[in-house]
């Protein structure tokens, strides 16, 4: 919820480290959009 923000994401700059076999960065970004944080770096890593 936008009004309930105990982590204080508002104004934060986010580094999103997704993983192909876990949660991809794009999914994390979608989940966190509209919470007032700006994604400054986002990557989906792949470890085989």
């Amino acid at each position: 919820m936008a009004g309930m923000n105990p982590l204080g994401l508002e104004g934060k700059k986010l580094i999103v480290l997704g993983e192909r076999d876990g949660v991809p960065a794009q999914t994390i970004e979608q989940a966190l959009e509209s919470l007032g944080a700006e994604v400054v770096y986002s990557t989906t890593q792949c470890f085989v």
Binding site: K13, E19, I28, A31, F47
Partner: protein, 106 residues
């Protein structure tokens, strides 16, 4: 963690300031979650990348952690992450990160 990724994170911490940065992880298991957590908080544990010996101390959360879930709309969380969370060792990851921060084991 990829050396290029480490280098980028180091640059961002220097240019934007550590206090404003937050790292969100999507790692699939305990090992990779802990390595990434360590790398962006206490420095690269493998001593092979740009963050070796660099304690950035960044605020870091896995997307499965309760603190993150609390800020994401429940319906949206379920839609985007519900299935992935069930398929991975989510609870173990959450517990491992709690312990890595110094909280007592449950």
């Amino acid at each position: 963690m990829d050396l290029e990724v480490q280098g980028r994170i180091k640059e961002l911490a220097e240019s934007l300031g550590r206090a404003n940065l937050m790292v969100v992880l999507g790692a699939p298991n305990v090992d990779s979650s802990l390595i990434q957590f360590e790398t962006v908080t206490r420095g690269d544990p493998t001593y092979s990348g740009p963050l070796a010996g660099v304690e950035l101390g960044l605020d870091t959360y896995h997307i499965f952690e309760p603190a993150m879930k609390a800020v994401i709309d429940a319906e949206k969380y379920e839609e985007l992450l519900g299935t992935i969370e069930l398929a991975l060792e989510a609870e173990t990851i959450v517990q491992a990160l709690r312990e890595a921060r110094g909280a007592p084991a449950q």
